[in-house]
């Protein structure tokens, strides 16, 4: 019995480790990066005052949010209002437990990895809807309804694309998927996967389509421009987080950034080789096997951050779509295309 308890405890700690080792520093880094990226795109400097090049700006911001008075309006549903940010936070952070950061480290190597991530991250929508309803504010309600409609719709193309990848890879386990794409860049699933045959070359265009669809729908799932309709500052002020302030707002904020990395991590694992290096390892060259694990962590974070950067880039370039256009894009283009794509990939895989 004691042994079992110890086992569980160790596993829980291991699964929670990415939260403290990466996600919290990442959120600080990403907020800073977002401000700097936007600043350079807009011909200005961005944060420069706190620390060298404004590096400590985010820490100062977090401290400010912690000190702020936690305002809860009279007419809100207090229990739900307080619970919603927690639920959103849990939903987006729990997804990290199954993400393979490296061959030596993965929070929890479950066989249903990708399925688990899809399932847990849809918890977020419940939190957003709760918060929107509990705020008792018409703008929040609009935001909540928009989010629910948007995230639920865009989960369909996401799931279909993941399904087509599962057909190609033959596994739901994210670690096995990453392991399959080892050795060189042409073994990545975006280039048709590790299998060397005619099949690989026929698959490439369809997997490219799948990758594009996944990226678009993941943008919509994390409410980033051009799909930031639920927050749409100029229309419905802040959407679901209009009424939130202080640390509760910070929870929503951090969850959004965590989500950005989560979808980038998934696209990395599914299409871009996961933690595998594109050129082989320095550890093999120098005969230092322990180095490989660290290199893998580097490559994984590097690829993930690259997609986070692309998301920021889009945010500061594009205007926002309208609600009906967003729905039309999903139901009239993405879902049919991804379905046809799935069928074709399934047929090719049967060859």
């Amino acid at each position: 019995m004691n042994e079992l308890l110890k086992d569980i405890l160790i596993n829980v700690l291991l699964a929670a480790a990415p939260l403290f080792l990466w996600i919290l520093p990442y959120a600080l880094l990403a907020v800073y990066l977002e401000r700097k990226v936007s600043a350079f795109m807009q011909d200005r400097l961005g944060p420069m005052r706190v620390g060298k090049y404004g590096l400590l700006q985010t820490i100062a911001d977090i401290l400010k949010l912690l000190q702020k008075e936690d305002i809860t309006a009279d007419a809100v549903d207090k229990k739900l209002f307080n619970f919603a940010p927690v639920l959103v936070f849990i939903g987006s952070y729990a997804a990290f437990a199954a993400i393979p950061f490296s061959s030596i480290y993965i929070g929890s190597n479950i066989d249903l990895g990708i399925f688990y991530i899809l399932a847990v991250s849809s918890l977020v929508v419940a939190g957003l809807l709760l918060g929107a309803w509990a705020s008792n504010n018409k703008y929040s309600l609009y935001g909540g309804l928009r989010t629910a409609a948007q995230i639920v719709s865009y989960e369909i193309p996401t799931a279909i694309v993941v399904l087509s990848l599962v057909i190609v890879a033959g596994t739901l386990n994210l670690k096995e998927m990453s392991e399959a794409q080892t050795a060189n860049i042409f073994n990545w699933y975006i280039f048709g996967g590790p299998e060397l045959s005619l099949k690989k070359f026929i698959l490439i265009p369809f997997l490219l389509v799948a990758a594009v669809i996944y990226f678009i729908s993941s943008l919509a799932e994390v409410n980033r421009t051009p799909f930031d309709i639920p927050e749409a500052e100029s229309e419905i002020i802040g959407g679901y987080h209009t009424e939130y302030s202080g640390m509760k707002f910070a929870f929503f904020f951090l969850a959004e950034y965590a989500n950005m990395f989560a979808v980038s991590a998934v696209i990395t694992v599914l299409f871009f080789g996961g933690y595998q290096s594109p050129f082989g390892y320095l550890g093999n060259l120098l005969n230092m096997p322990w180095l490989i694990g660290l290199e893998q962590i580097f490559w994984f974070l590097f690829k993930g951050m690259l997609f986070v950067f692309v998301q920021m880039w889009l945010r500061w370039t594009l205007p926002r779509l309208r609600v009906d256009q967003l729905m039309a894009l999903c139901w009239r283009y993405l879902i049919p295309i991804s379905l046809v794509n799935l069928v074709i990939i399934a047929f090719i895989s049967l060859l």
């Binding site: 936007s38 795109m41 807009q42 011909d43 200005r44 018409k138 703008y139 609009y142 421009t225 051009p226 930031d228 309709i229 749409a232 500052e233 100029s234 229309e235 419905i236 002020i237 500061w316 370039t317 594009l318 205007p319 926002r320 779509l321 309208r322 609600v323 009906d324 256009q325």
Partner: protein, 371 residues
């Protein structure tokens, strides 16, 4: 079982990021579809018109700055022209040229704000800062000229309060040279962006007859395809000497008079203003800008109506004189106010997001709507 449905009243403003000031819109919405829009005004009312009755004619000028605060020069221009008409006063050539140059620079600055904030309304943040970067150059130029960045109090009845500083014309030429580049950049980033066109084309269509019936003027009227610009149709000051076009909405991306047209007419107008500045800047004659300023303004009994083409449309001043040193009555015809009146007609049965886009394209300044 049938569910009970009812329409929701959504209160947009006066504290809302995209009502461009303290406008309050009462929206009657059915889901996302807007059924009715009622604008509520008066949050910025400062009794301008009543106030003028207690002041002498020349003292009113700084107050006109605060009407359309994004186009103070245009307001000054309108007021001093009206009073000069009442006094039958002829101003020196140099004054006319400088007035036209600053008014056109101000038009560019004002349109930059209109375009930038319109970008924010549809969710594009970067064009806003591009616009403000270039507006900053104009503000610096005008600051060098007048000492103020926003509310200039530059023109006086019969002349100008300050003459040009040394080297100012060179700086204006430099600005004109590099500004065409900005317009190109803006077109690449925003005007012809697919998502931007999707959002604005065929939205909030204002037909020409409706626009005329509502007394719409300025870029909004021209976007509906009516070629009407006071600078050309009833030239004041020295506008008849310059060669420039009146851009009108052509429905390039959708229907004539849609939101995209209203946006794009402003972009084209900036280019034309630049043409005027470039033509005027080389021909400024020598002279004294203060020589025609009267010591005491005491116009004869009578009424006068003067109008100018401000960035937002026809700005008119109706002044009644009883022969004293104070005006008996000053009535302002504010373009923003008249343009705003049409909002219900063009917002009906659109989405909430469209109301924001349409309001942005009307480009109101609340200082002028409420006075």
């Amino acid at each position: 079982m049938s569910l009970k449905t009812e329409e929701l009243v959504l209160n947009m403003g006066p504290q809302h990021p995209s009502t461009h000031g303290v406008l309050r819109l009462e929206l009657l919405v059915d889901g996302e579809i807007v059924k009715n829009v009622t604008p509520h005004l008066g949050y910025l009312h400062r009794c301008f018109e009543k106030h003028t009755e207690a002041m002498q004619y020349f003292q009113v000028v700084p107050y006109t700055d605060r009407l359309d605060y994004l186009a103070s020069m245009g307001n000054n221009f309108g007021y001093v022209l009206t009073i000069e008409k009442l006094l039958n006063l002829k101003v020196p050539e140099r004054v006319e040229y400088i007035r036209v140059i600053v008014a056109e620079l101000q038009r560019i600055a004002s349109h930059l704000v209109a375009i930038g904030t319109f970008g924010i309304d549809v969710g594009a943040f970067t064009p806003f800062l591009f616009c403000f970067r270039d507006r900053e150059i104009i503000l610096n130029l005008l600051e060098e000229l007048t000492g103020a960045r926003f509310l200039y109090n530059f023109m006086a009845v019969g002349g100008l309060n300050y003459d040009l500083p040394d080297g100012w014309t060179e700086k204006v030429k430099d600005f004109a040279k590099q500004f065409r580049n900005t317009i190109k950049e803006l077109n690449d980033l925003l005007s012809f962006n697919k998502i931007f066109i999707e959002r604005t084309a065929n939205v909030g269509i204002l037909p020409a007859d409706l626009a005329i019936n509502y007394g719409i003027s300025g870029p909004m009227l021209r976007a509906s395809g009516v070629k009407y610009d006071i600078r050309k149709n009833a030239p004041y000051s020295i506008y008849d000497r310059f060669d420039f076009e009146i851009p009108v909405g052509k429905g390039l991306k959708g229907t004539v008079g849609d939101t995209w047209d209203r946006y794009f007419v402003r972009v084209l107008e900036m280019e034309q203003s630049l043409n005027i500045v470039e033509q005027a800047i080389d021909n400024i004659p020598e002279g004294d800008v203060k020589e025609a300023i009267p010591k005491k303004i005491k116009p004869p009994v009578g009424t006068v109506y003067g109008r100018v083409e401000n960035p937002r449309g026809e700005l008119g001043f109706f002044v009644v004189s009883d022969g004293g040193v104070n005006p008996f009555r000053v009535k302002v015809r504010p373009p923003s106010f008249c343009n705003l009146s049409v909002i219900n007609e063009i917002c009906k049965n659109n989405l909430v997001s469209d109301v924001v886009a349409i309001l942005g394209s009307i480009d109101i300044v609340l200082g002028e709507v409420d006075r």
